[in-house]
């Protein structure tokens, strides 16, 4: 009795987790909305199939139980590690269910019809993903643990793909038809994102150092880069066609090394230009943040200006510079899809083809890997930023 009294003042707060209520609401909505959509072929309008009809009875019972349990656990105030465990388990169950639903609905031997994940599935994924990422945030995991968790999630997804569980899903049917294209464009996509990032790092960090030291230059360079950043991506890709075509036509050897008005070069150049602002601005901010006393002491002890830059300024600015690189990488993985518009390749090829053919499954084939890559890149670099921020920023 005494125990209950002692805790009485807190009991006027709802015994529910606020975010959990949102998660549960989304999950209920997801359970009601169509789980998958079935189409007789890839472009005709689909027929919505609810969870109840999408799965054999025994499996329906299991998945309903798991999802119900997850919704209840989400609402209750439980330790974050339980919330993480249940949300991840439910996500796995959901992944298995959507694959099974596709197999269950598709007539045996039918290769033309398409079963794609429906609104309900996406809503459930969103709800459980929200719950999982909230639990990860609350657990305050160390950087290595977060990378490990990401690796486990990636391994599970890879295992599901490899097992053929999702082979009857529309997206994978599209993939099966163009597996070679997919991997080639994946390579191009990564090449665009990382290539432009590398170029922006190599150019942007020295430019940032210059800006930090030469004040008049700082305003000019940062304003120009700001202006570049405001040009819409499609416009910038288009704007580069003319000058690059001109260079290819007039500068000897330019065409031979791959410079052309359309294709990969303008895409790389545009992504590079977008990448410069975050890298330069963060380099300047990082260097500005170096404690003046450390700077003074370094000078007073006889470090040359190069030694100060390499041993003191850059290491102390590094976490901030890396944050800029993180922004650039995530941004470029997304923006690289637009490169397909000017023949630059990448996952955007599937997105634009899919839009052209009103084949949403093809759009997903381009969009889902892009989103997954951007998410993974962001998570890994966040962890790395945390690892390199030792001592530096706290002092």
């Amino acid at each position: 009795m005494a125990l209950a009294d002692a805790t009485a003042p807190t009991s006027n707060r709802l015994p529910f987790d606020r975010l959990g209520l949102v998660v549960a609401g989304l999950a209920i909505g997801g359970g009601v909305l169509p789980f998958v959509a079935f189409r007789a072929n890839r472009i005709v309008p689909g027929k919505a199939v609810g969870l109840l009809e999408a799965l054999p009875g025994w499996e329906l019972a299991i998945i309903s139980a798991v999802l119900g349990a997850a919704a209840v656990m989400a609402v209750l105030r439980l330790a974050p590690r339980f919330r993480l465990l249940i949300s991840l388990s439910a996500l796995v169950a959901l992944a298995v269910a959507v694959g099974d639903a596709a197999r269950f609905i598709t007539p045996l031997g039918d290769k033309i019809s398409r079963t794609s994940p429906g609104t309900g599935f996406w809503l459930l994924t969103l709800a459980l993903g929200l719950m999982a990422s909230d639990a990860v945030a609350r657990l305050k995991l160390g950087p290595w643990t977060r990378i490990g968790l990401l690796a486990v999630v990636a391994a599970v997804v890879a295992a599901i793909l490899w097992s053929g569980l999702w082979n009857d899903l529309s997206v994978l049917r599209e993939y099966a038809n163009r597996a070679d294209d997919f991997w080639r464009e994946a390579g191009v996509h990564l090449g665009l994102a990382f290539g432009s990032l590398a170029a922006a790092t190599v150019v942007g960090i020295p430019l940032g150092i210059l800006c930090e030291r030469v004040l008049p230059l700082r305003a000019v360079i940062l304003n120009v880069l700001n202006a570049v950043q405001t040009v819409p991506s499609i416009a910038l890709f288009g704007l580069l066609i003319a000058p690059l075509a001109w260079i290819a036509a007039t500068v000897p050897g330019a065409a031979a090394i791959g410079i052309a008005g359309i294709g990969t070069t303008p895409a790389l150049v545009a992504l590079f230009l977008y990448s410069l602002l975050p890298v330069v601005a963060n380099t300047v901010a990082g260097l500005d943040g170096v404690p003046p006393e450390a700077e003074e002491a370094a000078r007073g002890m006889g470090m040359t200006s190069l030694q100060r830059l390499v041993q003191i300024d850059l290491p102390l600015a590094f976490p901030v510079i890396l944050t800029g690189i993180r922004i650039v990488l995530v941004q470029n993985i997304g923006l690289a899809t637009v490169a397909a518009l000017i023949g630059g390749g990448g996952f955007g090829v599937f997105v634009f083809q899919g839009v052209g053919q009103t084949a949403m499954d093809l759009v997903l084939l381009g969009a889902v890997p892009t989103v997954a890559l951007a998410f993974a890149a962001g998570a890994v670099l966040d962890a790395v930023v945390e690892m390199v921020s030792r001592g530096g920023r706290r002092a």
Binding site: P291, A294, A297, A298, G300, M301, G391
Partner: protein, 312 residues
Amino acid sequence: MIEIEHLSKRFDGVTVVDDVSLSIGDGEIVVIVGTSGSGKTTVLRMINRLIEADGGRVLIDGQDTRGVPAYQLRRQIGYAIQGHGLFPHRTVGQNIATVPSLLGWNRAKIGARVDELLTLFQLDPASYRERLPGALSGGQQQRVGVARALAAAPKVLLMDEPFGALDPIIRAKAQADLRAIQRRLKTTIVLVTHDMNEAIALGDRIAVMDQGRLLQYARPDELVVSPATEFVGELLGSGERPFRLLSFRQVRDFIEPGEASGAPIADTTTLRDALEEALWTGRDAVPVANAEGQILGRVTMQTVIRQAARHR
């Protein structure tokens, strides 16, 4: 030996240091004291050429400091500043190793030196060497800052308000430690402060500066007895003058034969502390003992009080 000859410096047409000359002997602690804007820090920073002088020159052991590149000169001179200026991304050991590394010492020699200095500054090498500065207390950070300045065993140490960021109790301890370490290493120290009490506690000689000029350069007791200008007198304050005078002298010079009751005091006690002890215990005379505990005689309060007068 540091000879500062006719140094002057102007910033944007404003003279901040005006024809300052000082001579600092080997193993001396000279404190430059003044209010902010007096030019004291500028003088200090002209010694290691963090600021280049407009006129005059600085000689160290007879050598003009402009004879070598500035960064090489600075590696020969220790430098400690307010707020310690430790590199937050480097461990305590790496911080202390800064100048030895710049000078190209080998690893074994650097490691031994780091441990030696940590021990000297009462920080256990095994537990402090690998810590980051952020994990230390303010007093510990300050000690590491001074240890770092002394790492390459410089003959000269420049200190710019080194204790400014410390609270009063830790500051007094830091001053006493610095004094003890200086006595041991015989390093010549030039220290800048705005705190006259600190100047008196530390300085063998005190240089008082105001508006870029050197007003007086004298021993602390001379300064207290005969301030050269009204401004110097103001800086000293009138409140504690007699007690300050007493704090410059030790009882060993005023021992008289005779008996006195109560616990003896050490012969190295200052007259000020002796007076305090006598007043507190209600005695007219106090026995004096040497380090071995042998009674040497007594010191009477009459004698002590006579020493507190300006003119004797």
